[in-house]
């Protein structure tokens, strides 16, 4: 094992860059990654982060109780903007939940080997983000005690949900996505759980990991079945990555509300979701690799590649903004043109320009290699992208609703302190789950990372002793 610092950020067409640094053998990989879970105490930063996020989570819980007790009037949702923060937050969190499955499924089918370092915790992030997302429409329905009416459950009232409503399609789309993502995440984790079980030092750990490892022994037959399942789940999850946010976009695009009804919404929402999801992966990966010593796996090259994906998807979002704006003019439709001009120069112009600055202008810095490889710059950009993508949903939802077809209805939306605190609380929920995940589950797919190392290549002695990108 060498300890020399290695630069793997070169872009040389004659050779592929190594993706794992400073580890020549499988044993040291296992030791490093399992070490995250096995160390007796997590770093101090973990305790601080956990204290903060669990506090926010508690506040969220109290506020949900307050909401249930008092009613949805505690929010700023008022005629005409009946969809305020809860739906903005819902779309925001569903969007965040897109990177994980994209990395795991689509990049797997595209044979992108670098994904192995980040897929595990990106998937975990996906699941936690979808939990945050699913909570908001659930508590937004008003009479929460009958929210099960969303599901087509036969009952004595013979009440069926409105199948023509995209809000119902959401229930199915997000539900399916959550189920498949969870399965995918769990199935991928089985060999690593078995590794933790085999290395366990206490009975409790051995039994706990052992239950979830499902008796994995790593036999040839086990691996064969595992690989087939993984490929099939990837193929099933791939259309899901596109379908979920497409269905979420239908919530808006099927309506006749100006600014909502444009046909490019489905792919535009998907691109935006991946954009924000990757920004969130970066926001979590940069501190995590620092605090847990994972820089040899999540290398600078990985970060740079993700920055490129942020640039690509950000450009797609920019393309959609331009097409929407062009078509609003080209259509000659009065209301449509008004909606878009109003976004830019109307009462919510400040939100619009935050969105454009954070989503379109600032990510252009990633055209420069310096910005793509500088940790502080990329961290700053990714935080701003998160802000921008939250504001994108705010702009779409609130500007269009506040000034609809009836000028007598027009009003200005004011969030309440409950709105703002619940948004912060949802980050508490997200971070608490994420910190628990880092503490107790394998954060990097150990078995998959090993498979992209030179030592896993049976022809390694014929070629360069390097993993291929």
């Amino acid at each position: 094992m060498t300890t020399l610092p290695l630069d793997n950020t070169f872009d040389d067409p004659t050779r592929r860059a190594p993706l794992v640094l400073n580890h020549d053998d499988f044993g040291s990989v296992t030791n490093t990654i399992c070490g995250v879970n096995e160390r007796p105490k997590p770093p101090r930063a973990w305790y601080i982060a956990f204290a903060i996020s669990s506090t926010f989570l508690m506040v969220l819980g109290i506020l949900i109780g307050y909401l249930f007790w008092t009613g949805v009037g505690v929010w700023g949702n008022q005629n005409p903007a009946m969809w305020g923060f809860p739906i903005v937050n819902f779309v925001f969190w569903v969007g965040i939940g897109h990177a994980g499955t994209l990395i795991s499924a689509i990049l797997y089918l595209f044979r992108q080997k670098w994904r192995t370092a980040i897929n595990r915790f990106a998937e975990a992030m996906t699941i936690f983000a979808v939990i945050c997302a699913g909570m908001f429409p659930g508590i937004h329905v008003g009479r929460v005690w009958v929210s099960y009416w969303l599901f087509p459950i036969p009952n004595q009232m013979e009440m069926w949900p409105q199948f023509r409503s995209p809000l119902l399609w959401d229930v199915f789309a997000v539900g399916t996505y959550f189920t498949v993502s969870l399965l995918f995440w769990y199935v991928g984790m089985i060999p690593d759980l078995a590794t933790l079980r085999d290395r366990a030092t206490t009975k409790l750990k051995a039994i706990s990991y052992g239950i979830f490892a499902l008796g994995w022994r790593g036999s040839m037959r086990h691996w064969h079945r595992y690989e087939r399942t993984y490929l099939l789940l990837a193929a099933l999850a791939t259309p899901l990555v596109l379908s979920v946010h497409s269905v979420v976009s239908f919530d808006f695009a099927v309506a006749q509300v100006p600014g909502w009804h444009t046909t490019i919404f489905p792919p535009y929402f998907v691109a935006g979701a991946i954009f924000s999801g990757f920004a969130m992966v970066m926001t979590l990966a940069i501190p995590a690799r620092q605090w847990w010593g994972l820089k040899d796996f999540i290398t600078l090259r990985h970060l740079e590649t993700m920055n490129k994906i942020i640039l690509v998807t950000g450009s797609m979002v920019g393309y959609a903004y331009i097409m929407e704006f062009f078509t609003a003019w080209y259509s000659g439709a009065m209301y449509e043109s008004f909606a878009f001009v109003n976004r830019m120069f109307g009462q919510y112009a400040w939100a619009y320009w935050i969105m454009v600055t954070c989503n379109v202008i600032i990510p252009q810095l990633f055209w420069f290699k310096k910005a793509r490889q500088s940790i502080p710059i990329m961290f700053g950009i990714c935080l701003l992208v998160n802000v921008g993508m939250w504001f994108e949903r705010f702009v779409i939802i609130v500007t269009s609703l506040s000034q609809d077809h009836l000028p007598a209805n027009w009003d200005y939306f004011h969030p309440t302190w409950v709105d703002l605190t619940m948004l912060a609380g949802s980050f508490g929920l997200f971070m608490t789950l994420f910190l628990l995940f880092i503490r107790y589950l394998p954060v990097i797919a150990i078995a998959e990372v090993k498979a992209i190392m030179p030592a896993a290549n049976p022809h390694a002695h014929d070629h360069d002793k390097e993993a291929s990108a």
């Binding site: 067409p13 046909t263 792919p267 000659g332 291929s468």
Partner: protein, 436 residues
Amino acid sequence: MNAAALAREDRYLGDLGPKLYVRLGGIGLGLIVVSLVLGFFAKDWDRFWRAYVVAYCFVISICLGGLFFTILQHLTRAGWSVAIRRISEGLASNLRWLWILFIPIVWIVWTDSEGGLYHWTLGAEAMREMGGAEAGLLAHKEAFLNPMFWTLRAALYFAIWFALAQFFVGNSIAQDTSGDPSITSRMQALAAPAMILYAFTQTFAAVDWLMTLEFAWYSTMFGVYFFAASCCGFGATMILLIYFLQRAGRVTESISIEHYHDMGKFLFAFGIVFWAYIAYSQYMLIWYANMPEETTWFMVRQLGSWKGLSLLLILGHFFIPFFFLLTRHTKRVKGVLAAAAAWMVAIHFIDMYWLVMPMVPIELVQSVDGDYAALVIAFQAPENAAYDLNWQLFDVTLMLGFAALMVAGTAFGLRSRSLVPEQDPRLAESLAFENY
């Protein structure tokens, strides 16, 4: 891989080249002349020029797909595709001369004062005098839809495509002799801005040439739809070209079943599933919101025999090829995949035909005042029979003529060149890769 067989393989068109470009070029030009004669006897020049637009968009969508694919490989630093990239470069190289075939369309736009092909060439003023209900709308759009700006835009698209094709094809061929890996680095560096130029020129070309056929209608998705369609046309054409090249004894070793499999996946993912996703989203959103200014475009495509053609697209462009190419087995038998590709090329042509041809006078749609059942009945009246689907022989001869010219142009672009980018630094990776 058998190194000896690889060394022996024939990587040049050789005598096949002149045969292809002379004969197919002759056939192509001949078919265009035949089409003109047929058009002359049909005496319906508006109809003829619509067929011309169909054939033109069919061919240029395939070549644009070739350009997209080539740029994409550099952008992603792809290894698997190196062995087949030269073929897509050959298709893209046609963008250097395809503007010549566009000149007649420009000529029509400048001279057609009756708005026979593009209604907007009538002009808002003339439309108002005729009592056209949409004159006000056209007046609003005239800043965009006037022959001068339209032609300048087209010239810009062609200039950009010319430059991109020249750069990516020219550099790749230059690498064959110099073997300089920095050429690859240069192409990679320019791939990202090239992709942005490609996205905007392709989108607005689709808007200008296809969407403005009905100037009142609009859809933000239209450029993406045309992109998805071009991926279908390109992916299928690529498989066919590789198949016939190998049948003719060229590049028999370096292009393996693994490349067929991956091209099959490309065709499946982009040309079939992505196309269906875009087509469905566009249709469903317009159908659901049910706003008259948007639905007319689809209503026309649900009348008379057009309905059958629309259903054929749903089945033939999605359901049948989806299930057929879902399994890996069909993607890994060369003849079977080539047959599927031939089907997809044909259905791509029908897709272009479906985009351009259906045209019901707006007066007819307005006369029924939103009553769809009444529109269906009115459409069946004998005086409206001309608006129903009526195939003309020149629809097919023009398409075949253009396609022959495209293949001839591809062969000309690849004459005396290696059919494999021999000095590409990632060729070894492409030759060795296997699908799991």
